[in-house]
């Protein structure tokens, strides 16, 4: 068999994390009842004119800067014409002639080492609605909630040669764009979608082979499977003449593990792009450009190195925390407050992670305020609140904004230094349970734990365990 190489280019659509849609003030939130987030504008009714959401441009620029792009200081919107029921105006407002970002690059790491993937351009555009097919009545209904939700499309050069590189790139994009709060990049919710342009050629050949485009992949593992399937199909066609390869768009069916032809180049429509006369060209002046530049976060790997070198975190801890911008922000604020990097890392990695897992939330959904976490850690380190009670307070902190000390005081979580009271409680319990005392004296360690537990329960946990243990042992001796 001849040796073949794979050439892949990607078009990645990212839904921007804006509150409202790109050209109207409807909510851009995912979900909601069908046709809940709609107005005459995003339903395509006559009379409405587009008014550009400035935040979309902010995030478009942010994405470009994170991906080392040049920013077009004058950027314009264009109309792309095609008929489909989920597109209420029968045109999509997008960027064709002067996209906001061009010529970027993203460095990826694979088993073969580092590689730069070139970005051709990033353009801003509006999303389409969604068709809901009802097989029972054989009708299609349309939900316009997603119509005009802002997107960026990141178009790469055909620089990938394997599924591994594609996956590394997508994970890198996801990490950078989540870090910059451009998008949640959740493939399962469709806020990150990927089209794969793929062709095969003999090794050494400079001309590109017949290219197919695959759509409809909603997970990274599906993309890997789709690429592997498509490569095999192309090679089979070239080697064995099983079919004639044509330039076409194909749909990936992940359940069946096969791709299907959707439309060929011949039947593809002419989109008749032209500049949108209702959207004035956007001019990005130095002040605007600089303010976005200044708002960019440190890259995750830079943060990670700093956490290890300067704050003494382990590679493992630093790696985990830098998976999420929310974790990083919380970590840095908490560290600033309490000065105990390792302690903060422990709280984040064990307690916060557990809490999020139980809720089924992602790391980026952590709501705990970093400064408050720092204060809480200080309370524990100063033995003002026990670790057990601090965990209870942490759960509250992920729901609402509280001052940990104030909350602890109001809810009797402050460790009592009233030794007289502690002694009184211990004396009563020891007196009431001579059997356990005798058991302990007879060598049963467990009996001590039972007594200790009873005391702690009566004291509602607000007692330094060391102090309690010391006094308890004294009282047992006396008994």
């Amino acid at each position: 068999m001849k040796k073949y190489e794979t050439v892949i280019g990607l078009e990645v659509h990212i839904e921007l994390a804006t509150k409202s849609k790109i050209f109207c003030s409807c909510s851009a939130e995912f979900g909601g009842e069908q046709n809940d987030h709609v107005c005459p504008a995003c339903c395509g009714m006559p009379g409405m004119l587009p008014v550009t959401n400035k935040r979309v441009v902010d995030l478009g620029m942010t994405a470009g800067m994170m991906l080392n792009c040049e920013i077009n200081r004058t950027t314009t919107f264009d109309k792309k014409n095609y008929y489909y029921p989920d597109l209420p105006c029968s045109y999509q407002t997008t960027q064709w002639f002067a996209p906001i970002c061009v010529n970027g690059k993203v460095r990826i790491q694979t088993s073969k080492g580092e590689k730069d993937i070139r970005i051709k351009q990033i353009h801003m555009e509006e999303d389409a609605g969604k068709l809901v097919h009802d097989d029972w009545t054989d009708t299609s209904l349309v939900d316009y909630n997603r119509t005009s939700v802002p997107l960026i499309e990141i178009v790469s050069q055909p620089d990938f040669s394997s599924a591994e590189e594609v996956v590394a790139y997508l994970e890198r994009l996801r990490s950078l764009l989540r870090f910059a709060k451009v998008s949640q990049c959740r493939m399962e919710q469709g806020s990150m979608r990927c089209d794969v342009n793929l062709s095969i050629r003999e090794e050494g050949e400079t001309k590109l082979g017949v290219r197919t485009e695959m759509k409809n992949m909603n997970s990274i593992s599906a993309i890997t499977r789709a690429i592997e399937y498509e490569v095999a199909r192309h090679i089979d066609a070239l080697e064995n003449g099983t079919e004639e390869l044509v330039q076409e768009t194909r749909r990936w069916d992940d359940v069946k593990g096969k791709s299907y032809a959707m439309r060929s180049k011949e039947t593809a429509g002419d989109y008749r792009y032209f500049p949108d006369p209702n959207v004035m060209p956007i001019v990005i002046d130095d002040e605007w450009f600089d303010s976005i530049k200044a708002s960019l976060p440190e890259f995750p790997e830079v943060k990670k190195a700093r956490f290890i070198d300067e704050l003494g975190l382990s590679e493992y801890d630093a790696d985990l925390i830098t998976q999420s911008r929310a974790f990083c922000d919380c970590f840095e604020a908490a560290y600033k407050e309490c000065g105990e990097a390792k302690e903060v890392a422990n709280w984040l990695i064990s307690d916060c992670m557990n809490m999020l897992n139980k809720k089924g939330s992602t790391m980026d959904q952590l709501k705990v305020d970093g400064t408050a976490l720092g204060k809480l850690i200080k309370l524990v380190m100063e033995s003002k609140v026990t670790r057990g009670n601090a965990k209870k307070i942490l759960l509250v902190m992920d729901e609402e904004t509280i001052d940990p000390e104030k909350y602890a005081t109001e809810n009797n979580f402050i460790v009592s230094n009233d030794t007289a009271n502690i002694e009184k409680v211990i004396k009563e319990i020891v007196a009431a349970d001579p059997k356990s005392v005798a058991d302990y004296k007879g060598g049963k360690e467990k009996a001590l734990m039972a007594l200790f537990g009873k005391c702690m329960k009566t004291l509602k946990g607000n007692c330094d365990p060391q102090v309690l243990r010391k006094i308890l042992l004294e009282e047992i001796d006396k008994a």
Partner: protein, 396 residues
């Protein structure tokens, strides 16, 4: 004459009517198309809100040609309005004779032509000074809300009520810019007559220009003829841009969400095709095909892109003229009357008549029609143009 209002509706001294390109909650809005027969808007056009706030009564609606791109409204799905001799009448103009004013959507010069043939005033203000929010989009880069009235004073009063910034229109200018159109900063002292465009009109129209020239001269205004060769190219350029934008804007009328839906379909393609085939008129359909063609990958550069370049050249030519002159004078139409037979014989007559109206449309410059002439001035010189037209009208 089928209009949405009677003459008694217009009897109120502050009654303003609208042509049917303006969306209203209280009345249906059709844009002259069977596609929108009975369409009720969820909201009012910004100018309707502003008129109401200024104390005007909305008298009702006037028929308009389908998407406001025809000669004088003859393509309205309710039929052309004519007098007993078959002369085409503009519904807006007929109502303007009774009401205080009629707001008209000037896309392809129809209201300017109507004012010219009916001896009324029409003010097409500087692009961006009156909100287009709540108008049925036709050809957005040139379409402008204007005022038709019997006198310059009435037109100006209504324009005062509707001009101003609107956040809901991305092309709307600032309030301070919009206000400029209402005061005369520099009176019209030097007028250039567009030589070849004027020469191409009927004798009766040319006579009006001559008469206006004399009145202006008598009033101390210097009048000279200029070479207008480049301005004649506005016609072809606007026909291209207008068709392209129109084709795109009416693509939302697909029979899926609202408006006319054919009963004859089994597939989505048939639903689209049959609904649009049955509901759109011949002129609009022709423009959709023409507009699609000039935007196609094969033709974009040689038609649409070139038309945009011509638009810029014309704007530069006007800037050059306005360095020396305060206004350009030209007719608003080739004739003083059109008949139904004229448009029956040539449904594209409006495309030809664009020779007179496209120069101001394509550049967004203010144009005022009255006293048998059209004056075009530099941006924000609307008030000075109105003053000059008032002088001409009063001098006749």
């Amino acid at each position: 004459m089928k209009l949405y209002l009677t003459k008694s509706d217009c009897a109120m001294t502050n009654a303003v009517a609208l042509d049917d390109m303006f969306l209203t909650k209280a009345m249906p809005t059709t844009a002259g198309s069977k596609m929108l027969d009975g369409y009720m808007s969820l909201f009012d056009a910004e100018v309707v809100t502003k008129l109401t706030e200024a104390g005007y009564e909305i008298a009702g609606k006037a028929n308009v040609g389908e998407m406001a791109v025809d000669l004088l409204g003859e393509t309205s799905y309710e039929g052309a309005v004519t007098d007993d001799n078959g002369t085409l009448l503009s519904a807006s103009a007929e109502i303007a004779k009774e009401a205080k004013a009629v707001l008209c959507f000037d896309v392809n010069g129809a209201p300017r032509r109507a004012a010219a043939v009916s001896d009324l005033i029409f003010v097409k203000p500087t692009y961006g000074t009156v909100s287009r929010f709540g108008t049925v989009s036709s050809a957005c880069s040139g379409e402008t809300v204007g005022v038709m009235a019997k006198t310059v004073a009435d037109a100006k009063a209504v324009l005062t009520a509707i001009a101003g910034h609107d956040d809901k229109d991305g092309t709307s200018l600032s309030d301070s810019q919009c206000e400029k159109i209402l005061t005369t900063e520099k009176a019209v002292k030097k007028v250039a007559i567009a030589k070849s465009i004027t020469a191409s009109a009927d004798d009766s129209v040319k006579a009006d220009i001559e008469a206006a020239k004399k009145i202006l001269s008598d009033n101390g205004v210097e009048v000279a003829e200029i070479d207008d060769e480049i301005l004649t190219k506005a016609k072809a350029a606007w026909n291209i841009l207008m068709s392209a934008e129109l084709c795109n804007n009416v693509s939302r009328f697909d029979g899926v969400k609202y408006g006319y839906r054919s009963e004859n379909y089994t597939t989505i393609e048939e639903l689209y095709t049959n609904s649009r085939t049955e509901a759109f008129g011949e002129l609009l359909k022709t423009m959709i095909i023409y507009g699609s063609d000039v935007l196609s990958t094969d033709n974009y550069m040689s038609f649409y892109d070139k038309a945009m370049r011509i638009r810029r050249v014309i704007a530069e030519k006007f800037a050059e003229i306005f360095a020396e002159y305060d206004a350009v004078m030209l007719p608003a139409s080739s004739k003083k009357a059109f008949t139904k037979a004229d448009t029956d014989a040539n449904m594209y007559l409006a495309f030809d008549e664009n020779l007179y109206t496209a120069p101001a449309t394509i550049t967004g410059l203010p144009a005022v029609v009255g006293g048998g002439v059209q004056l075009i001035g530099k941006a924000f010189s609307d008030s000075a143009l109105m003053d000059a037209v008032k002088t001409i009208k009063e001098g006749k």
